[in-house]
Symmetry: C2
Subunit: 459 residues, 2 copies
């Protein structure tokens, strides 16, 4: 192979790594709508939120103005254990696709939790520890967030209680064991340990659980146990703030070689990875400095951006959490059972929702067999077994690179490779055996959730 | 945390990466004994070996003299996809152990195959492709080698037939699916597809297989199908040559910061990782330039170095392979069923065996519960979930660091972290549940294999 000016993997030196998170809200002309109390329909104050969240995280959640937030030294120290993550030039993929496009991916799977979730997990655990708390509670679906939080808590000596969607708990025993190896307690949700769990089990005795239901349980346990708070791995503004480290590193690495992306692509479930990856680029776009095409890719079976409503909705099934204004399919929406992998949340980050609503980014949906085709092609070509979530971005990056092959344009395509698929091999097996199916919900199926949105605030 | 001169992770730039493999045999005064034909008890020639192995690999296998072997450009290109691997300063582990020792580990798990095996897999697949072959056959036990070879073959468009020890095939369906995702065919061994498989099944109808038996099947299939050759992930001289890239990178990284290791530690099953890690250091030792303590760590349940005999033995159960002179427990030895993870081969690399026999390195054995305790401690402290194999090295590195805490010596300890434990969570679950047990074979148990060694050559 010829000598290449741009290395396969662009790593930053320690002194090049970002020292601040970037808060994209500071540059948004239209700010994301505030969280709202479902009883009063008035914006939540810091005091309203403090039984649930850590104080410093509440401050971050509500702060729409501070552009640069210093990353505490202790978190920078932890980041050094697995960051910078590599920005990889996908030379092999380009060659296989015979495309003039230059493809880059930011690979966040090079840590034991296997995904980008660790970037926010360590931050949230750190602020909990700083506040003198005993522990934190959370929910997990596919398990990436729970694993990341368990690692962060083990590092800091915090107790960690994870409510894991029952179907995942049973189908992904290895995810559970990783969390236990890191010292976390893992409870299948719904459980008999909480009021909300008992209520849901009484109403739906055979239920295999949902993310929204596990959130309700984790929040109840946090608010009813002294010294505990609830933490969440996506959707929230604070999470996007912490995840901005992905985009900042990406931008520094690209700038180092004078590369300007034309298209930036990320998968979107609750928005944690996409929001982080795009943040500094979106900042330039918001400030009118530069334009980029930014594409969110979501599963056709859980299409909140492309088929949801932009409205206030509950984040949880138990309806004990604040309302958030977001693209939503309704808190009652549960993806079809044949849906593999994550990206199954009914809503979307309020920040990304506002940006999408304002026409600053695009969204497309992909069916899962096509996503796994892209995943397998990528694995064989680039050598990394991708998570199903990440493979949504791969699918669209390949589509865009193929378009370049037709037009002859040498576009720079950057996508987020959020994690590895080691714990998703049941789904890979279905794909390998040809038994994987797609499911695009009908309008009637979506109407159930969309027609049951809560009363909307009028402020 | 304070500013540190030595970064958490020492990465090499592309231009610092090794361009040659290093052949430690060139510096050995006493060369490893040659492979021998079990029928004639005479050394195997290249012509004898050519029905089984690729020509260029045979040349490498037999070459005890060439010190530096250029790494072909194509392989350097592939290495760039996942190399250099980081050399990590274990700051967190040092702090937790309160030791003045400086601990470094070379982490080879940052690729989808999850281990160092890929370094030799791509080399062997490359030479097979270069020879114009259609495909290769191999065996796999724990699955690291099979996964690595599948990835390498997918990259080069070679067919790959893997014979997987039946018990692993059944207990590790996810390993199997990764290999299938990379396009390999995976057959549980013993199978009805081969003469040797049928013979073993007839004699032992309920057998769950062994590595030695899977080797026999893979060799038979390679030699009876035109356009196929057999490849092996450990034991052989050629494998140690390819794996020298681990040690070379380690040495370059240490030299960059003026660090001289006092102790170098690696786990040892067939010797592929240990042989690669230590090679340039052993070279200095053999040339009298510098001294190092070098420690091999093996499972107490499969103790070839510490309780085996240094003698000619078969590498496979079916006794169709050449004889190798090595530390061996006898080709009939099968580790106790409670043994988790790899490192279950009855023999050991002839190169390492000779070096050990000549007093140039030490060997210790570790029991598996102690190994998993070290693994869990390491995971919680350093954030990486280690493979059980690698955890043998972790255990002894921690022991040595604790000794430094007692004596106050600031030794530099380097160990090989060969891979990740994502596919070993059944074993972690046993450990987490407190149901994992140890088994140290009795002298009587070992005598069965040790007393059945083949006739020894007299040349």
């Amino acid at each position: 192979m010829e000598n290449r000016k741009i290395p396969y993997k662009i790593y930053l030196n320690e002194d090049e790594m970002p020292k601040n998170w970037y808060n994209v809200r500071a540059d948004m002309k239209v700010k994301p709508a505030p969280l709202v109390n479902p009883g009063t329909l008035q914006p939540m104050t810091a005091a309203d939120l403090s039984p649930v969240f850590c104080d410093e995280l509440i401050a971050q959640e509500l702060d729409n103005d501070t552009r640069e937030v210093p990353i505490p030294e202790e978190i920078l120290g932890f980041y050094k254990m697995y960051r910078p993550s590599p920005l990889v030039r996908a030379y092999c993929l380009e060659e296989k696709l015979q495309t003039p496009a230059h493809i880059y991916y930011k690979f966040e799977g090079n840590n034991t939790s296997g995904s980008h979730k660790l970037n926010s997990a360590i931050a949230q655990a750190y602020y909990a520890k700083k506040q003198g708390l005993r522990g934190v509670t959370t929910e997990t679906g596919a398990g990436q967030w729970g694993t990341a939080l368990s690692m962060a808590c083990a590092y800091l000596g915090l107790d960690c209680k994870v409510y894991m969607v029952k179907v995942s708990y049973e189908q992904k025993p290895f995810r559970r064991e990783v969390m236990r190896t890191y010292g976390a307690s893992v409870t299948p949700s719904p459980s008999m340990e909480t009021n909300v769990g008992r209520k849901i089990l009484a109403e739906h005795p055979g239920t295999t659980g949902s993310l929204g239901c596990a959130i309700s349980e984790a929040v109840e346990v946090a608010t009813s146990n002294p010294g505990y708070r609830y933490v969440l791995g996506s959707v929230l503004n604070q999470v996007l703030l912490h995840q901005s480290v992905i985009g900042l590193e990406t931008k520094i690495a690209l700038d180092k070689y004078g590369i300007v992306p034309d298209i930036i692509i990320g998968c979107a479930g609750g928005g944690s990875n996409l929001g982080g990856l795009i943040s500094p680029f979106m900042g330039e776009k918001l400030r009118g400095e530069r334009d980029y095409r930014i594409i969110a890719v979501e599963p056709a079976s859980c299409p909140s951006f492309t088929r949801g409503k932009f409205a206030y909705d509950f984040c949880d099934t138990g309806m004990i959490c604040p309302l958030a204004k977001m693209y939503t399919l309704g808190a009652g929406f549960i993806p079809s059972p044949n849906h593999a992998g994550g990206l199954r949340f009914h809503g979307m980050s309020p920040v990304l929702s506002q940006l999408y609503h304002d026409g600053l980014m695009e969204a497309v949906s992909a069916e899962q067999t096509a996503v796994f085709e892209a995943a397998e092609f990528f694995a064989r070509t680039e050598g990394i077994l991708p998570a199903p979530e990440s493979s949504h971005a791969i699918k669209v990056a390949i589509d865009e690179a193929k378009k370049c092959a037709e037009t002859g344009e040498a576009k720079n395509i950057v996508f987020g490779l959020t994690g590895t698929g080691y714990f998703d091999l049941v789904a890979y097996e279905q794909f390998n055996n040809g038994t994987m199916t797609d499911h695009i919900p009908t309008d009637e199926e979506l109407a159930v959730g969309l027609n049951a949105l809560p009363p909307q605030p009028t402020f």
